[in-house]
C-alpha cells in the first residue's frame, strides 16, 4: 500500500524547472532510494514533500491518505513525516538531549501556556519524555554526550544526532537526505546498518537520497532516478542499474559500455 504519493509534482524557481511533473509512490515499510546527478532536484523534492517549499499549481501530494499539498511544514511533521537535512541543521547551542526533545515536540501533551499555570504537571511530563529520549540516545550511542551542546559533537556523532532527532518525532516515514555525506566507507556501512535497525525497531518507511550508489543498491527495495527534475527511471536496483537512460544521465553518452559496467560495479 502506498504511504506517500505525489501526482504531477512540479516546482519552478523563476525560469528554472527544478521538479518537472514527478509522480511517485512509496510503499509502506519499504526502503525507497532516490538517486540522480547533482542538481537533479532530489533535495528540492524533499523540501516540497515536507512543506519547506510550496509546489506549483496542479501538484498533488498525499501522505497516509491525507492531502498535504500546500500544508505548512509543522502540520506535515505532525502527520508523521520526518526528515533529515543534507547540512544537518542541528540546534548547535542546545544540548544533545534538548535536540531530540525538540524532535519530540509534536507529541507534547501540554499547551504552550501550560508552563505558567500548571508547572508540576509540565515537569512530570518532561521527566517521562526525557527518560524516553535518553533510551533513544542510548540506542544510537549518544547517551553519554546528552548534556553537551550539539555543536561540540564530532561529524559522525552529529549525523547520528540528526537521525535521532528525526526518530524522536515518532514518524511513520523518514526522509534521509544524504545520510552518509562526508563519512568514510566503513562509517557509511555502519550508518546504513543503524538506519535499517531503526527501521525495524520503529516500524518506519524510508526514502533515502544518497550518492554512494553501492549503498543504495544494497539497501533499497525500489529506486527512482531523477535527472533535470524529471523521473527518468524507476524499479528494482537491478533494473535501474541496467537501464540505459540512467547510465546516460550519470555518465553521458560517450562512455563505452565496458567503462560503464566497471563504474557501476565499483
Amino acid at each position: 500500500m502506498a504511504l506517500l504519493e505525489t501526482r504531477n509534482l512540479s516546482k519552478s524557481f523563476g525560469g528554472l524547472q527544478a521538479i518537472d511533473n514527478v509522480s511517485l509512490s512509496v510503499d509502506e515499510n519499504s526502503v525507497h532510494g532516490l538517486i540522480g546527478p547533482n542538481g537533479s532536484g532530489k533535495s528540492t523534492f524533499f523540501n516540497l514533500l515536507t512543506g519547506v517549499y510550496q509546489p506549483d499549481i496542479g501538484s498533488h501530494i498525499s501522505f497516509n491518505k491525507i492531502d498535504i499539498t500546500n500544508k505548512p511544514a509543522h502540520y506535515i511533521a505532525s502527520q508523521g513525516l520526518a526528515r533529515t537535512f543534507q547540512l544537518l541543521r542541528l540546534y548547535g547551542e542546545l544540548s544533545v538531549l534538548e535536540n531530540v526533545l525538540v524532535g519530540y515536540h509534536p507529541h507534547t501533551k501540554y499547551g504552550p501556556l501550560a508552563p505558567l499555570i500548571m508547572g508540576a504537571e509540565v515537569r512530570r511530563q518532561d521527566r517521562l519524555v526525557k527518560e524516553e529520549m535518553m533510551d533513544l540516545l542510548e540506542f544510537i550511542g549518544l547517551a553519554e554526550h546528552a548534556e553537551i551542546p550539539a555543536a561540540e559533537l564530532s561529524g559522525g556523532q552529529r549525523r547520528l544526532l540528526a537521525l535521532g532527532r528525526a526518530i524522536a518525532m515518532r514518524p511513520k516515514m523518514l526522509l534521509l537526505d544524504e545520510p552518509g555525506a562526508g563519512l568514510s566507507p566503513v562509517n557509511v556501512d555502519n550508518l546504513m546498518a543503524t538506519i535499517l535497525t531503526l527501521k525495524e525497531r520503529y516500524n518506519l518507511t524510508i526514502v533515502v537520497v544518497e550518492h554512494i550508489l553501492k549503498v543504495v543498491m544494497a539497501t533499497c527495495d525500489t529506486i527512482s532516478v531523477l535527472d533535470h527534475g524529471q523521473k527518468i527511471s524507476e524499479g528494482s536496483p537491478k533494473f535501474v542499474k541496467n537501464d540505459p537512460a540512467v547510465v546516460e544521465a550519470y555518465l553521458g553518452r560517450e562512455m563505452a559500455d565496458e567503462d560503464i559496467k566497471a563504474a557501476m560495479n565499483a
Partner: protein, 361 residues
Amino acid sequence: MIVLSKLADLFEDLAKRHRLLPWLIAYVLLLPLPFVLAGLFNEYLIDLVNRICLFILLAVGLNIVKGFCGQVTVGHIGLYAIGAVTSAVLSLEPGGFGGALGFGWPVWLSIPTAVLVTAFAGLIIGLPSVRLQGAYLALATLGLGESVRIFIAVTPALGSSTGLMMIPAPSVGSFTLDSFTSYYYIVMTAALLGIYFSFSILRSATGRAFQAIREDTTAAAVNGINVIQYKLLAFVFSAVYAGLAGALFAHMQPGYLHHNNFTVIEMVTLLLMVVLGGIGNVWGGVIGAIVVAIAYDQTKDLVFYFMDRPIVIQPLVFGLSMVLLVMFMPRGIGGWIEDFQRNRRFIRRSEERLSGSTRNT
C-alpha cells in the same frame, strides 16, 4: 569564582530539597533590603532599587523574545510606554489636568488591564517577525515602538508634552503604597516572579521551541513547531513583562509620566542590559539590568565642559560600551556563567568517573 561556585552549590542543594526553597530564601533575604539601605545610606537608594526591579522585568521580558526566540526587536520600550500610559489613563480621575483622559478605575484593576492591552500590542509588534528577520525586523519594530512614543507626545489626552501627572498610587485598604519602601515590595515581588516564570518557560517544551526557532527556523518547522504561533507567543510573553513594568512605573511615586521616558536612548540602555548580561541567559540579564541601571544612574549628570559648553557624555559612553561589548564580549556575563557551569559539570563528572574506577579496582 570560588564564591560563585559555593553559591551555585548551595543553590543546587537547596533546590534538591524543594524546588521552590531557593526562591523563598531569596525572597526572605530581600525583604529587609530597604531598611538596610535607608539605615546605611539614604532613601534615594530605595528608589534606585525600585527602578532596577522594573528594569529587571523589562530585561527578562526582552530576553524571552530576543534571547530565547532570537527575534531582534527594538520596539520593547514602546510596549513599556503602552503599559504605563494605559494604566495611568485608566486610573486617573476624569477631567484631570491639561485635558488628559481619565477613567477613575481602581489601580488594582488598571494594572492588569494595561498588561492585557500591552500583550495585544505585543502581538501587533510581533507581526512583522512573520516575514522579516534580523536587521529588517529591528527596523520595523523600531518604527512601531517609536511611533507609540510620538503618538503619546502629540496627543493631549495622553499627556502630550506636559506629561501625565498625579497618577494615583495603589492602596491596600486605607494604606496607600506611596513611599519608596512600600512600593519596593510590589516591584521586588514582581521582578522575582518574573524571573521565576521566565525559567518555567525556558525549561519547558515552549522554551525549547523558542530556542529551536532561534537556532534554525526551517529545522524547527520541520520538527513540527508552528513557527509563526511560537514567534508571536514570544512577543506576547515579552509584552506582558513590559506592560507590567510600565504599569508599575506609572503608579510609582511621583506618579508622573512623560514621553521622554520612552525614547530610543532608553531602548539602547535596555539592549545594553541584555547584551552585557549575555543574550539568552536569564541570570545574565538580571545582572546586566542591575549593573547598567546603576551605571545609568551614576552617569546621568556627568557633564563634560568643552570650551565652556556643557556636553552630556552619557549617550556617548553607553553607545561606545555597546560597540565594545559586541566586539569583545559577545556572550556577555551570561557567557561566563555558562562556561563556568559547564566546567563545573565536567569536573564533577570526571571526579565521579575517577572515584568510580578506584572503587572498581
